[in-house]
Amino acid sequence: MSIWEYANPKKFMQVSGRVLPWLTGLAALTLSLGLVWGFFFTPEDYKQGSTVKILFLHVPAAMMAINAWVMMLVASLIWVIRRHHVSALAARAAAPAGLVFTLIALVTGALWGQPMWNTWWEWDPRLTSFLILLLFYLGYIALWSAIEDPDTAADLTSVLCMVGSVFAVLSRYAVKFWNQGLHQDSTILKVGESDPLDAAYYVPLVVCIAGFVLFFVVMVLVRTRIWIRARRLGALLARERMG
């Protein structure tokens, strides 16, 4: 069986309808477990005190803000190359989730930064590239809503997605590209280095990341189903208008 079979809206609705209840349960369980573990059962950090508990929100949200855009890029490329409507709709479906993850990363970052850096905001490479990513998410969502013809909207938003990918990559590697600013380098990748993340934080962090990934997958599936129905509704209304 080819993977492209799932690009058929009917097949996608069938399969996603079957897996969604299980995935939703698993996402709720993983996310709750990770966050309860991180909030209630992790020790204070010797440098950062109890603010270390923000790690379990900030890191997964920031990772998913970038990964959601990468997923949108892959779906947009599939639309541009193979013209599968489901992939264009999946990219559209992912955008609000990506926007929310970016907002969470920025808000928790500001709340964490204030006591640690003594400032809510700094025009630091990583923070600034995340702010630009947020604007790209808003622009992407607005562009989809502004264009009536769905195929034209899918084409133009795909182009915007490709341009925005530069900032998604910059958000990830900003700390490496510009060795300045307040924000530290990746937390997760420090394992195995001289200053690794302690296992007391690492394990619940991995559970939280899994929870955020599953939550994203559920949101994309549910929202893609909405846009598939909306597309059918548009076709029916056009048929009605033609008499």
């Binding site: 508990k53 929100l57 808000v107 006591p115 549910v222 929202r223 048929r239």
Partner: protein, 54 residues
């Protein structure tokens, strides 16, 4: 049960509260959108069915 967050209580609770609000907002908006589209589609299908029968 509640951990002692000390002087960072606002930062930690604010982060968890804001995240809960944003995630709940996304879920609520998605469910509202789903219900709206489902209902509109059901109505359009019913109208077309009537037209086809006639």
């Amino acid at each position: 049960m509640m951990p002692d967050l000390g002087k960072y209580a606002f930062a930690v609770l604010g982060s968890y509260g804001a995240t809960a609000l944003l995630l709940a907002g996304l879920v609520g908006f998605t469910l509202w959108q789903r219900a709206r589209v489902k209902q509109a589609l059901a109505e359009a299908e019913a109208r077309l069915e009537k037209t086809d029968v006639r």
